[in-house]
């Protein structure tokens, strides 16, 4: 009560200032760079220079030249596979932590173990998979020791599957965290009520637990897809020749290829895809929330 009256007595000026600062930062760090990026995407390249212009040639090139659109499609495919795999693995893990582990302490410990890798360098974790999947990596050694194979197989590394595996491993915590929170928020007596009404555990899972944790799945899947879509490390370390993803393409446009306008157009397309996805996710989440009241 007192705080409110004190606030009310103050003049509006400092309050405005309080808001001006973050708005200013957002403008400077978000709007301006994106504005510049979008602007450059309409420019023309006249090697080695870029000329201000307003034409859609760059966008046209992206969607007509297979060199570009196949990369976009591949990236979407890999991101979708990673999202699917991370969700399919992360959900049961979160479910296990919330519903199967009985003691609070063990649950907290295992949850930490899921989260801890996020504190280890992302590069290092990607590199780990190189040493696991490589020709003289852990997997090949193990298979050789077991006698399943007698020559190391190079099949495991430098392809799209190795990228999916690596990215899935890296992004699983991003699924586990929101799903864990969603599952923990389901009142236990709803599950008891379901069984009380004659529904068996699996039916209870399908009709109560899954719908009530859908919000967590949506946010986890969205984050995973966006992060996987923009990844540029895994393609370099474990992706191999046909593993190039959008982010690598972008990198080269601004680097070696020295085509900023095309790079900007590509970046704008990526931005639009991600934004569309976030919008869709927010819509789904809101629909779910409305359904929950």
């Amino acid at each position: 009560m007192r705080g409110k009256s004190v606030l009310a007595r103050r003049s509006a000026l400092p309050v405005l200032g309080l808001f001006a600062l973050p708005v200013g930062w957002a403008f400077l760090l978000l709007i301006v760079p994106y504005g510049i990026m979008v602007a450059i995407s309409f420019w023309t390249r006249q090697f080695p220079l870029f000329v201000p212009d307003f034409q859609f040639g760059n966008y046209l090139q992206l969607f007509s030249d297979p060199q570009y659109y196949t990369v976009i499609l591949r990236t979407a495919k890999i991101a979708a596979l990673v999202t699917l795999a991370a969700t399919c693995l992360g959900y049961p893990l979160a479910y296990y932590l919330v519903f199967v582990i009985k003691t609070e302490r063990l649950r907290a410990l295992l949850y930490m173990l899921v989260i801890v890798p996020l504190w280890v360098s992302y590069l290092l974790r990607t590199y780990t998979w190189k040493t696991i999947l490589g020709t003289d990596g852990a997997l090949n050694s193990a298979l050789k020791w077991l006698g399943v194979i007698d020559q190391p197989i190079s099949l495991f590394l430098y392809n799209q599957w190795s990228m999916v595996i690596t990215l899935t491993y890296i992004f699983i915590p991003f699924v586990v965290m929101p799903v864990f929170a969603a599952l923990e928020n389901i009142p236990r007596n709803l599950i008891e009520a379901s069984e009380d009404l004659g529904v068996r555990p699996f039916g209870t899972f399908l009709r109560v637990i899954l719908p009530l944790s859908a919000g967590g799945v949506i946010s986890g899947a969205t984050v995973t897809f966006c992060l996987a879509f923009g990844d540029f490390v895994a393609p370099v370390l474990v992706g191999g020749p046909d593993g190039t993803m959008v982010a690598n393409l972008l990198q080269s446009q601004f680097g070696a290829a020295l085509n900023w306008p095309l790079g900007s157009a590509l970046a704008t397309v990526v931005l639009l895809i991600v934004m569309a996805l976030l919008w869709l996710s927010a819509r789904l989440d809101r629909a779910g929330r409305v359904a929950l009241g």
């Binding site: 009520a193 009380d196 009241g293």
Partner: protein
């Protein structure tokens, strides 16, 4: 339904001691006791959410001690309703009717949903979400959902405790009506003695995981088995006294500085020797203003206005603890200036005094 020697321990904590209880067909039985006395534990074992440490639970003669909740012909009205938030009211009720075991045709399911909604007066709210409803309405949905399955026993855990006082009284009437219309056996849990007395055919008074007494509400009120039940049901002033003997069907007592005579049947004071310590229970309602038999006088401590009744707290001469009396307002008309410090005398009918052996003194 019957509990046979059922007990439950959580590690070292004994939530429920050896308990036997039989519910008759169509009976409304209430477990009554203070918080933590094991009521919910008992109900959860009947519902199948906990398994007893010892004993058996029989429903319709079938041993269901370790049956899963979805395998028992009982349904629960949960304390905080436990309605599915992602379903409408009608979907909540339908939920338990479309399961494999129910074997209901779609037409039967619909008619059951409608019937359940009508029974609780919510036919207009079929398509609402629980979040858009008031506490009292949710309570009714929870009830409709449970009874739509036509359970053999309906379990209700503090069904009215989350409602405000006004609503609670209305729902008590509803609950009683629903019970009468359905003829299902009800097993309710509450800590509210008024609610238990008003609704139940039989009340089971519990204390610290034990059943103290089981009986019709009037039986518990008129002949409580021990001082605890006397105080919990209807309230009672418990005063220490000395048993002086018995003649012509009356127990003579020394009470404070005075005497009292008790004339009641079925007291558990047989075998007392002269001079034995006893506990005397005086219900506030039974204390009458003015001189008479079994008079107690003292000085007023406090006068509390209770609407149609006035509560008077007074310190009787020769008795350590203060005593509460509740008198109709009309009785005070001649004593307008009764206030703290005024001398006051009450008396009580010999048939209204409750007499118990003093377990602690023994």
């Amino acid at each position: 339904m019957a509990l046979e020697g059922v007990s439950k321990s959580y590690g070292a904590v004994q939530a429920l001691g050896q308990t036997d209880l039989v519910l008759n067909e169509g009976e409304f039985v209430t477990l009554l006791g203070p918080s933590g006395c094991g009521k919910t534990t008992t109900l959860r074992m009947v519902g199948g959410f906990e398994f007893p440490s010892t004993g058996r639970i029989l429903i319709d003669g079938r041993d269901t001690t370790y049956a899963a909740p979805f395998d028992r012909p009982v349904n629960t009205v949960f304390q905080d309703y436990a309605l599915f938030p992602h379903m409408t009211v009608a979907q909540n009720i339908r939920y338990g009717l479309t399961v494999r075991g129910a074997n209901l045709s779609p037409a039967e399911v619909s008619s059951r949903v409608e019937h359940a909604l009508a029974l609780v007066g919510l036919s207009k709210f079929a398509d609402r979400r629980p979040a858009m409803m008031s506490g009292g309405q949710r309570q009714r949905v929870a009830m409709a959902r449970a009874i739509a399955r036509r359970p053999r026993v309906l379990l209700l855990d503090e069904p009215l405790s989350a409602l405000d006082v006004k609503l609670r009284e209305g729902m008590q009437v509803e609950l009683k009506r629903i019970h009468r219309e359905l003829g299902i056996t009800f097993l309710m849990v509450t800590h509210d003695q008024g609610e238990a007395m008003a609704l139940s055919d039989r009340v089971v008074v519990m204390q610290a995981g034990q059943i103290c007494q089981t009986g019709k509400p009037e039986e518990l009120y008129d002949s409580p088995a021990n001082p605890y039940v006397a105080d919990f049901i209807g309230g009672a002033n418990l005063v220490k006294g000395v048993w002086k003997g018995r003649d012509r069907g009356r127990d003579r007592l020394a009470l404070g500085q005075g005497q009292a005579e008790v004339q009641r049947e079925g007291h558990a004071v047989a075998g007392l020797s002269e001079g034995a310590a006893v506990l005397i229970g005086l219900r506030p309602d039974n204390l009458l203003l003015g001189d008479g038999p079994n008079a107690i006088s003292g000085r007023v401590l406090e006068v509390l206005f209770r609407g149609d009744r006035i509560r008077i707290e007074f310190t009787p001469r020769g008795i350590a603890a203060p005593i509460f009396a509740e008198v109709p307002r009309a009785a005070l008309r001649d004593l307008q200036n009764l206030g703290p410090g005024s001398p006051v005398t009450f008396h009580i009918d010999a048939a209204d005094i409750l007499l118990f052996a003093d377990e602690v003194a023994k």
